[in-house]
């Protein structure tokens, strides 16, 4: 990979981390409401996988921890932040919030708050890609907890049966909210669970961006070339709680958190680039400074300055606002 791309990817991950941490601050200031699920610690997975797909052609869908997936898919960060602020300029015009970021212009088809619900939606997006005869694919990001839903098994069966071009990315961050994986799941290696559907699968380090890029590249190629679905598992760790309300001390130790902090994906990749001579300490400082500036003076400012939705528009978007009267009516009673 070219040095410029390596630097860009590092900057993206630093940007994603700062975006999420800035959301934390805005939440504490009551600028952001509802539930907020932060992605800090898992950046290498979304960054690496989505680097290997075709932006605006392939479909991407995920759960409620969705900000970074949306931005990496091409949704403007300022619109994502405006959505979190509940503004009309937000990516869902303030109707969705943190858990429901959408940007169909880049084929980011949403974040969903029902655990496991995106599995069949992703398979449906893949069905559409195949139906139209394109080589586009669908990519579904979900956590390990989602694999205990019925939709997991139902969808894996149909995706394999129908050779759908879908890549299931399992971000195994070890916890389903506060329940550690070995307390909820009989088989903790998630990639093994799709074997009964004859689906190709593998498990990789999710903290090392280069490992993610290499593994995802192969998996995407497998799916795109018509070999059927692929289930790829990345071992990772969220540095914050499940959302803003849980106390991690109740379910995991400081020692465990410290161990994973050593494998922070941004630190690992930054150190690697410095060691390789691609980057200097001064470059890193400059990137961090630049990101802080962009988030504060572009992303947050845009969200702060944007108008709230109009209350008179409350009922917009429930149904098609401009339906064709040939199909809808009204019926004429004599």
């Amino acid at each position: 990979m070219k040095a410029a791309d390596q630097k860009r990817l590092l900057r993206e991950m630093i940007f994603f981390r700062r975006f999420e941490e800035r959301c934390f601050e805005a939440y504490m200031e009551h600028k952001i409401g509802g539930f907020l699920h932060l992605y800090s610690g898992q950046e290498a997975v979304a960054t690496g996988v989505l680097e290997t797909v075709r932006r605006g052609e392939d479909y991407v869908i995920t759960g409620y921890r969705d900000h970074v997936h949306a931005i990496k898919s091409g949704a403007p960060a300022r619109e994502v932040m405006a959505e979190l602020y509940g503004k009309e300029t937000g990516s869902s015009r303030g109707r969705g919030g943190s858990m429901h970021i959408f940007d169909p212009t880049v084929h980011f088809m949403g974040g969903y708050a029902l655990v496991g619900q995106p599995f069949p939606l992703a398979a449906g997006l893949a069905l559409a890609c195949k139906y139209r005869g394109t080589d586009h694919i669908a990519v579904c990001f979900l956590g390990d907890g989602a694999n205990n839903q019925g939709t997991f098994h139902e969808t894996m069966n149909m995706a394999a049966l129908w050779h759908l071009p879908v890549l299931f990315v399992c971000e195994n961050n070890q916890y389903a909210i506060g329940t550690r994986i070995d307390r909820s799941t009989a088989v903790t290696d998630q990639y093994k669970r799709v074997c009964s559907y004859n689906m190709a699968s593998s498990q990789h380090d999710g903290q090392d961006l280069d490992a993610v890029l290499a593994a995802a590249g192969k998996a995407v190629e497998h799916v795109r070339s018509g070999k059927g679905p692929y289930f790829i598992e990345f071992l990772t760790y969220r540095q914050r709680g499940h959302s803003m309300s849980d106390k991690t001390a109740a379910y995991r130790s400081k020692e465990e958190e410290a161990e994973w902090a050593k494998r922070d994906p941004i630190k690992l990749y930054g150190a690697k680039l410095i060691k390789a001579g691609v980057l200097t300490d001064a470059d890193l400082k400059a990137i961090e400074h630049d990101v802080l500036n962009e988030i504060e003076n572009d992303v947050v400012k845009f969200a702060e300055d944007s108008p709230a939705p109009k209350v008179e528009d409350l009922n917009k978007y429930v149904l098609d606002d401009r339906p064709d009267p040939r199909w809808i009516g009204p019926l004429q009673n004599s």
């Binding site: 479909y59 429901h100 088809m109 992703a122 559409a128 149904l319 809808i328 019926l331």
Partner: protein, 326 residues
């Protein structure tokens, strides 16, 4: 004009829409090779192939979700769920996803699916195959719910439902599939919205939908023999509801009965009567009457099943009550 059974009308709508738009496909359990439990897709697998007529595994929630996902990317799936009881398994994708995606994406993503399913009691199918449940979908923002009363409506409304950009819950009835009706030979559409005054009258308004509409029509004949002129309104669309047509009829007749095959609590009848009280309370000359099922899981034994489910005699008696004749 040709006389078609209800199931043939559904089949014709599929055939015409599949031929009209390559993005239309159908999916469900046993709809392809077998042709559908109620024959509603018979012969279409042979005509359109397995790409467009998809036999699914018994996974209601996820095959419905696959249809919804495909619709988000521009396809127009007609999803058959074999019984409305099984649609409960798909409520997550229908209610939490299809109904809400347009809204929670700020109008940027739509889900143009049709979910067809028979709801209603048939003949001794017992508690787990006799649900009606229209009220569940009727209470969900973001869905359209339609209940075609016969072959004419079934064909025309299904074609409209396929072309509409909203998720449509299309509720058929197991006892109606073999009812026959004259249907135009040439292509036609029936609108998804609007209640219809199917029989004009002056003394009382009888309101029903799919099977309960047919009970109202039979009761109107019985009332006519007593010299009573009943107006019969087919709701057609449970969501959105045509409040205006209901109001106009009640303001004309001043008495009203609502018939439903489902249990009463939090049901179609409760909703319609609430609407009447809100919109035209002072037009009423007597209290509204609800005809509905007994508050029990549907029994197997024929006599118990009969006792649990309303028929035209119950509607007739209810109308006499509203008219102060009993």
């Amino acid at each position: 004009m040709a006389e078609l059974a209800y199931w043939e009308a559904i089949r014709r709508a599929h055939d015409e829409e599949l031929a009209n738009d390559p993005m239309v496909l159908a999916m469900g359990e046993d709809i392809g090779v077998v042709g559908g439990t109620y024959k509603a897709t018979s012969g279409l697998y042979q005509k359109y192939g397995d790409k467009r007529i998809i036999d699914t595994p018994i996974s209601e929630n996820s095959f419905t979700g696959i249809g919804i996902g495909a619709s988000m990317a521009g396809l127009r799936p007609i999803i058959e769920i074999m019984s409305i009881n099984f649609a409960l398994l798909a409520l997550d994708t229908l209610v939490n996803a299809a109904a809400k995606i347009r809204y929670m994406s700020g109008g940027r993503v739509s889900c143009p699916i049709v979910m067809r399913t028979p709801g209603g009691t048939a003949h001794q199918l017992a508690a787990q195959h006799s649900a009606r449940l229209a009220r569940v979908f009727m209470s969900t923002s973001g869905l359209r719910v339609v209940t075609p009363r016969g072959a004419m409506e079934a064909c025309g409304m299904l074609k409209s439902a396929v072309r509409c950009n909203d998720p449509v819950i299309f509720i058929e009835h197991e006892r109606m599939y073999n009812l026959r009706e004259q249907v135009p030979d040439t292509e036609y559409f029936r609108p998804l919205e609007g209640a219809e005054i199917v029989r004009k009258g002056t003394d009382i308004t009888l309101i029903g939908y799919n099977w309960s509409f047919l009970l109202c029509m039979k009761a109107a004949d019985m009332l006519e023999r007593d010299g009573i002129s009943a107006e019969v309104v087919d709701l057609r669309s449970l969501k959105p509801l045509d409040r205006e047509t209901i109001r106009r009829s009640v303001e004309k007749t001043h008495r009203v009965l609502v018939a439903e095959e489902d249990e009463a609590a939090v049901g179609v009848g409760s909703e319609i009567i609430s609407v009447i009280i809100e919109d035209c309370f002072f037009a009423l000359d007597s209290q509204p009457v609800r005809i509905h099922a007994a508050d029990v899981p549907v029994p197997y034994a024929a006599n118990l099943e009969h006792a649990a489910i309303p028929d035209e005699h119950d509607v007739y008696q209810g109308a006499l009550k509203a008219l102060g004749r009993i």
